[in-house]
Amino acid sequence: MADLSCNVAGIKAPNPFWLASAPPTDKLYNVERAFRAGWGGVVWKTLGMDPPIVNVSSRYGAVHYNGQRMMGFNNVELITDRPLEDNLREIKQIKKDWPDRAVVVSLMVPCTEKDWRFIINKIEDTGCDGVELNFGCPHGMSERGMGAAVGQVPEYVEMVTRWVKECSDLPCLVKLTPNVTDIRQVAHAAKAGGGDGVALINTINSIVSVDLDQMAPEPTIDGKGSHGGYCGPAVKPIALHMVTEIAKDPETKDLPISAIGGISNWRDAAEFISMGASGIQVCTAAMHYGFKIVDDMIDGLNNWMDEKDFATLEDFRGMAVPNVTEWQYLNLKYDIKARIDESTCIQCGLCHISCEDASHQAIREIKANGVRRFEVIDEACVGCNLCMFACPVPDCITMERVDSGKEFQNWTTHPNNPMRVEEN
């Protein structure tokens, strides 16, 4: 049995699977159930100043894809709509009842030092393990100068983080919005302000769909809609890239990361940890299937770590980071060709048509005696992988390395590169 315990910027938990700040963590009732199901921690749904905000009815807009219901969705919900004192009382209670679990409190108040000091003082009494500064929420609150409106300005991020750190010793995670051009600038600011770690990504600005009868975006609220934050498996590649950017950056490479973004299972979690995350947060998958999914997350990660002989998360954390490089350093001599296993080929022709219409016309169809087969033309195949992915049969098309494996040349020295450096 591997040790799954994690430490994210000084916040400890028995496992790295935390529920992100969202509806699943907005009250004692849910969080109690989550802990009973096995979740290692929660980030309590964002608290704000009283009087509480109000929410609209019709809050989610879903993307259904190829028969898969709700493969992703967006939301226009705001922060907690319950009185501050109710939340504080329940946070105190849950921490008392579940001392080994991480209870982090997400916060969002107007951009004044007075308000931030007020809220920090309030939550210090709850016994929570840390705070998460919500600079990510892209809708509603951002119009009021909070959430992503702060997260998109590195100077504000640094300033508010500093206010928080000056008035509290609680570990402080700064939650970042992906709705920026360079996530590293904001991460630098979080670090400069004294933040103990970053949490990313928050949801992505989106309009999920248009109701073509009402001619209005969805979710539609009395005929109108607004942009909302998109989440779910589709955002994972974007989150993974942003986490990697921070993990690779010389200035932030040691900054603890709580990774968020489309994480649905243990494999996703392992990928984020291998890219440097100390822990992960889940929301969409739990909102779709309930808290029980954590069982496979814990079990699956455990089994995989045992198989790989990793005793702790630290044993593989960040292991993939050194292999992320820039395009110009990739080996141009590396050469692979598609290989079709005719014994498992079902003759759907997708390899042929995808290559024919969209790649390099390197797979020909051969018809003889009413049977057809598909043949790779090596001279034309550039090894792009398209046919392998288009093929519906696992392992029917594989890519075979055909270069010697001994040669290396990258773009920096390539003769076609006008900016090349001369090789010694």
């Binding site: 190829n66 028969g67 079902i346 003759q347 759907c348 022709g349 997708l350 042929h352 048509i353 169809e365 057809r372 519906p392 049969v393």
Partner: protein, 445 residues
């Protein structure tokens, strides 16, 4: 005292209603979308090649997945005007679904038939139209026989701007779709709804109770019309070649299926307690299952060869068995036994293939009791044709045609079960009608 037990009303009305409900209930929209998304959208898809009417199957399925149901139905119906019926009665397991690459992959083909039904049902429900006729040509064509081949031909000719008159021997159009297919395969009077849809195009005049050689003569038609299309089907059934086939209780399966389809009250139909069906095709399966569904206690389907040689597909055989029909292979009827002029049993001889592969009797005998015996050993063209006037040449018991569906008589084309084009299937008949119409059109314009 007689032991013969044939009577009506073996089952309650409730039970009968349940037994004769749709044997394959339609997909709902959620399942249709999930199923549509199982289609790989193959390049040069094998399912298209396996469809006698060459429907662009991946394309109509993709249109289901995007909610373009009108486009989907148009893809189907423009190739096969009876796409709705074919979705219900095609042996898809040997046609499109048999060729589906997912069958090759994991024996779970895309349920093409059910998807086709979904798209066409939704289209018919919408009440929309998709076809418009070309400019009138002034040409008139006589279509003899209002079954699938005839209606398909008439519809295509109408589309191309011709006028047609369909001469139908029976009361209703649609041929075996109306008279020859088990009721549970086509519920809610679907055959006639489909006829209404086909006739909606206009330019098709219908004359029923016009039997070739009686009310209507081929010579007259050839004189009065620019072309004639014969789609008379197969008017008679094969006989067992036994001595006393006229015994009471020995019936032709096609007659019983027809009677059942036209019956207003299933509880009034008589059925034997013990039923033996002789044959190995889909008609044999249909009459066996119908008997079971009407309340027969023991139904045996007796076939002189093995399961592989049956013309009923494996799926049809399985359907019979799950409905409680016993299938007995390798037995051939030797004599009919009777009691007071009513059949009461059959003596069978066991059969086998000799070393040369020829079917021979083994000499071993088996007796089986029966209250009713159904003959379902195929149909024949005899009596369908008009012997009083000049008729086209036949070959192998069917009307001879060339690749353009032309018969030996000038100006006379033929298609459907009365010619030998492919299997005797609705879908093949529809294709024959369509291709013959195109050939007639090319000839006339």
């Amino acid at each position: 005292m007689t032991t013969i037990d044939v009577r009506a009303g073996r089952l309650s009305q409730e039970k009968l209603a349940l037994n004769f409900a749709d044997s394959h209930p339609p997909l709902d929209s959620g399942n249709a979308i999930v199923e549509a998304n199982r289609c790989y959208f193959c390049y040069d898809a094998p399912c298209i090649a396996a469809c006698p009417t060459a429907i662009d199957i991946p394309n109509f399925i993709r249109k289901i997945s995007t909610g373009n149901l009108k486009g989907s139905a148009k893809d189907i119906l423009s190739q096969n005007i009876m796409g709705g019926m074919c979705a219900r009665v095609c042996p898809t397991e040997t046609l499109c679904e048999g060729a589906c690459v997912r069958e090759t992959q994991d024996h779970q083909p895309v349920r093409i038939g059910e998807l086709q039904r979904y798209a066409t049902d939704k289209f018919f429900d919408s009440g929309e139209t998709i076809f418009e006729r070309d400019e009138a040509t002034g040409k008139r064509i006589a279509v003899v026989g209002g079954g699938p081949a005839g209606l398909s031909c008439a519809h295509r000719l109408a589309l191309l701007g011709h006028e047609t008159v369909v001469f139908e021997a029976r009361d209703k159009l649609s041929g075996l779709n109306e008279y020859g297919i088990a009721a549970y395969k086509t519920v809610n009077n679907f055959a006639q709804l489909e006829v209404d849809f086909i006739l909606e195009i206009g330019g098709i005049e219908i004359r029923t109770n016009q039997k070739l050689g009686q009310e209507v003569k081929l010579d007259d038609l050839r004189q009065k019309f620019d072309a004639v299309f014969l789609s008379v089907g197969l008017g008679d059934v094969n006989s067992l070649g036994l001595e006393n086939e006229e015994l009471e209780g020995v019936y032709d399966a096609v007659d019983t299926i027809s009677e059942l389809r036209q019956s207003g009250n299933l509880a009034e139909l008589s059925v034997g307690r013990r039923v033996i069906v002789i044959g190995g095709g889909n008609t044999a399966i249909d009459v066996a299952v119908l008997s079971k569904k009407l309340g027969a206690e023991d139904v045996t389907l007796a076939y002189r060869r093995g399961p592989e040689q049956m013309s009923a597909t494996w799926k049809e055989q399985e359907f019979a068995q799950t409905n409680g029909v016993r299938v007995k292979h390798w037995v051939a009827p030797k004599s009919l036994q009777s009691e007071n002029g009513h059949v009461c049993g059959i003596e069978f001889e066991c059969t086998e293939l000799n070393p040369e592969g020829k079917l021979v009797g083994t000499g071993e005998l088996r007796n089986m009791e029966a209250d009713i015996v159904f003959k379902a050993i195929g149909q024949t063209l005899v009596n369908s044709l008009d012997s009083a006037t000049e008729m086209p040449e036949t070959t192998g018991g069917k009307i001879a045609v060339n690749s353009k569906y032309e018969t030996s008589l000038a100006g006379v084309w033929a298609g459907g079960d009365c010619i030998r084009s492919g299997e005797d299937l609705t879908v093949q008949a529809v294709e024959d009608g369509k291709q013959a119409a195109l050939a007639i059109h090319r000839k006339l314009t």
